[in-house]
């Protein structure tokens, strides 16, 4: 018995040693590569996001989008001889792991950082400041920008999206002041826009916010929906992920509460921000998703165009399945990678050394005539010292016959400027 345990231990220790040695050699190789290839530069980017764990259904296509676009850049020699090396790490939606990843990226030299969740962006805000690291998170939380100079949102913040939806409600509602409820994720990510919508109302937006519902893992939203209906709520603006919205929509359609047309009297019209919609919602809610209004800044594949063709071609080139290719989060990842690449290109074109300072400068100057037009969004990416949200333009989509179709033309919310 004892003998066998000893053997077991030696095996274990040997294995551990081997792993360590292999890691050691890996480090050594890297150094060599760096010294031999002096002419062609490698720019180090990094992305830490939730490929597993909560919100992984969004993180997964996002990671694929980023990975594919950088591969494409390298293979097409878009940066000439230079290459982009983007390390993608899974942090399982845990801030501690994100922090560890970030420290590692920093230690290995980092020129531009892509982050993911609201929680980790807020948790690492001070680190970004201290490191002066330009960062684009996948979270569009307006709170990310408070007391921060280095965080850039890819598109309009959740707050702007929610306000945009609210404005749409106000403009298209017939009758007296519309009564609105918000259905939100029980976290910073969900709660962020609530206070901003309230501010917009205080600033003169003519609507009444009746209730803010934080959802749990509910199997049945009947109680909530009935309550809202009794209070006269006609619109529900959701800021959460797809799965709870799907459950709510299914319950609503079961109760026959879903408005057939926008603002139908005695029924509820459901609207949602970026992460509530997309093909995943249709996959989850099925026919109950019909007439769900959704806003985002991305062009989606059910409205084909040049941008979506490019997106699908990219996904096809790297063998992605249909689901990932069609996902608006894939477009999201591609767009963020495009912005990073564009910054590098511009810095190179100006003959500047590509590093975090110059890339930060490029981001700040990305406005006016310098605005960047990626193909996957409905408007240009504009950043400046005061405007840290990229694509300010939003597009409203609604589900018609099982696919999101555009409603109206792209718009920019007015009240975001007034609060």
């Amino acid at each position: 018995m004892k003998k066998s345990k000893l053997n077991l231990m030696t095996v274990f220790i040997a294995a551990a040693l081997m792993v360590f040695i292999s890691c050691g050699t890996k480090e050594a190789e890297k150094v060599e590569v760096a010294t031999t290839a002096t002419e062609a530069k490698t720019y180090k980017l990094a992305l830490s996001l939730a490929i597993t764990g909560p919100t992984s259904d969004a993180g997964n296509p996002y990671a694929k989008g980023v990975e594919d676009y950088f591969k494409f850049v390298n293979e097409m020699n878009i940066l000439g001889e230079d290459k982009i090396e983007c390390t993608i790490r899974d942090d399982q939606y845990k801030n501690d792991v994100t922090k560890r990843n970030f420290e590692e990226f920093i230690a290995e030299g980092l020129d531009f950082y892509l982050n993911y969740s609201t929680g980790s962006t807020l948790a690492l805000k001070k680190d970004f400041e201290e490191e002066k690291m330009p960062t684009i998170p996948a979270s569009f939380h307006a709170g990310n920008l408070i007391e921060s100079n280095y965080i850039f949102l890819p598109i309009a913040s959740y707050s702007a999206q929610a306000i945009g939806l609210a404005e749409y409600v106000v403009n298209n509602h017939s009758g007296s002041t519309p009564k609105v409820a918000m259905f939100i994720h029980p976290s910073a990510f969900g709660r962020g826009p609530v206070s901003d919508v309230e501010k917009a109302i205080a600033a003169g937006l003519d609507m009444e916010l009746i209730e803010v519902v934080e959802h749990g893992k509910d199997l049945d939203n009947t109680a909530m929906l009935q309550r809202l209906l009794n209070k006269g709520v006609q619109y529900v603006i959701s800021q959460t992920v797809q799965s709870p919205v799907a459950t709510m929509l299914k319950d609503a359609s079961r109760l026959d509460l879903v408005a057939k047309t926008f603002g139908e009297n005695g029924k509820i019209t459901f609207l949602g921000c970026h992460y509530t919609g997309g093909n995943d919602l249709i996959a989850l809610a099925g026919p109950a998703a019909e007439n769900f209004f959704w806003t985002t800044s991305y062009i989606i594949t059910s409205e084909p165009g040049v941008g979506t063709d490019a997106q699908l071609a990219l996904a096809k080139r790297y063998g992605r399945d249909d689901k990932a290719a069609q996902s608006h989060n894939y477009a999201n990842g591609v767009m963020v990678a495009q912005v990073a690449t564009e910054c590098i290109l511009r810095a190179k074109a100006r003959g500047k050394a590509v590093n975090k300072e110059s890339l930060y400068q490029e981001l700040l100057e990305m406005n006016g005539i310098n605005a960047f037009y990626p193909v996957t969004t409905v408007g240009p990416v504009t950043y400046s010292a005061t405007d840290k949200a990229g694509v300010d333009t939003l597009q409203l989509y609604a589900v018609k016959n099982g696919a999101f179709k555009s409603v109206g033309t792209p718009f920019i919310p007015i009240y975001t400027g007034k609060i």
């Binding site: 893992k217 309550r227 299914k250 995943d280 989850l284």
Partner: protein
């Protein structure tokens, strides 16, 4: 008043799903005194198998439900054979931790499939217009869920009351030594208990999947959500699981219906079960129908 009855109906629907989820839990605990924390994962796997059979293979949903129940039957049985059999007689913490380890392993295996990170939805096979009971609505899917739950639970009750195997399982849960001495193979019974739990898990998973859509996180969370239910009902009582499931469903619906949105409260339906759980543990730890065998210190 319609509001009240709507809450009651919803509570019963949610409660019966809880009951079905809790059933598997209770079956395992009753015979082998193992708290199976990985039950949520088995529920999820069951749902995924049903989906894969229905959508990818094109088998009618009821047939694939039965096939999936068969699959989880063998899955759970082999889990017991491989992992739990060796641990008979080990301290409770080892047994709990093994099921936790199992949970992680199953997580890992599910991540190998598309189900790990992506969302799916069952095809609609029931009429989508709800049944209107005088202003109170219930969907066909929910009704089907309740019916399946009732069928499963009455089936199990019959099985334990009348069939020889069922009676031997009850004997083992009553007294292992005595049942061994009359020739019942205790390990076999343990295996069978797990297998039947797997059976019920697949059914529960399929029903939940039909209601919420297939999302791995949502589905496996049911492994934890049913804790308050099984404690309220008593860990070793099937009747308890049913009654407590319905009670818990009603409590949650009433909390969501009357507490949320008032007095600044929100999400009470999430935490209330655990508060009730703590109270029950303090005043009546064996639950409503459990056997009094708690030792007071």
């Amino acid at each position: 008043m319609t509001y009240f009855f709507q809450l009651v109906v919803s509570g019963i629907v949610v409660g019966s799903i809880y009951a079905l989820s809790a059933l598997g839990f209770v079956l395992i605990y009753k015979s082998s005194k193992v708290l199976n924390i990985a039950h949520g994962q088995i529920i999820a796997v069951g749902a995924f198998i049903t989906y894969a059979l229905t959508v990818w293979m094109g088998i009618p949903i009821f047939l694939s439900l039965i096939l999936s129940m068969g699959a989880t039957f063998f899955l759970a049985m082999s889990v017991e054979r491989i992992f739990l059999r060796r641990l008979i007689g080990e301290p409770i913490i080892s047994v709990i931790m093994v099921t936790i380890g199992l949970m992680s392993i199953l997580d890992g295996l599910v991540y190998l499939t598309p189900f790990g990170t992506e969302n799916f939805s069952f095809p609609v096979f029931l009429p989508s217009t709800p049944i209107d009971l005088g202003g109170v609505y219930i969907s066909w899917t929910q009704l089907m869920g309740v019916i399946i739950t009732i069928v499963m639970i009455s089936g199990f009750s019959w099985f334990f009351k009348k069939s020889t195997v069922g009676i031997s399982m009850r004997a083992v849960s009553d007294d292992q030594l005595a049942s061994m001495s009359i020739g019942i193979s205790v390990p076999k019974v343990f295996g069978l208990a797990w297998a039947t739990a797997g059976l019920s898990a697949a059914a529960a998973g399929t029903i939940i999947g039909n209601i919420t859509g297939l999302n791995f996180d949502t589905l496996h969370a049911f492994g934890i959500v049913v804790f308050p239910v099984v404690i309220l009902g008593g860990l070793d009582s099937i009747l308890g699981a049913v009654v407590a499931g319905v009670i818990m469903g009603l409590i949650q619906q009433f909390a969501a219906g009357y507490l949320d949105g008032n007095w600044g409260l929100n999400g009470t339906a999430e935490v209330l079960p655990y508060i009730i759980l703590l109270i029950i543990l303090l005043i009546k730890p064996h639950g409503l129908f459990g056997i009094h065998e708690i030792e007071r210190v």
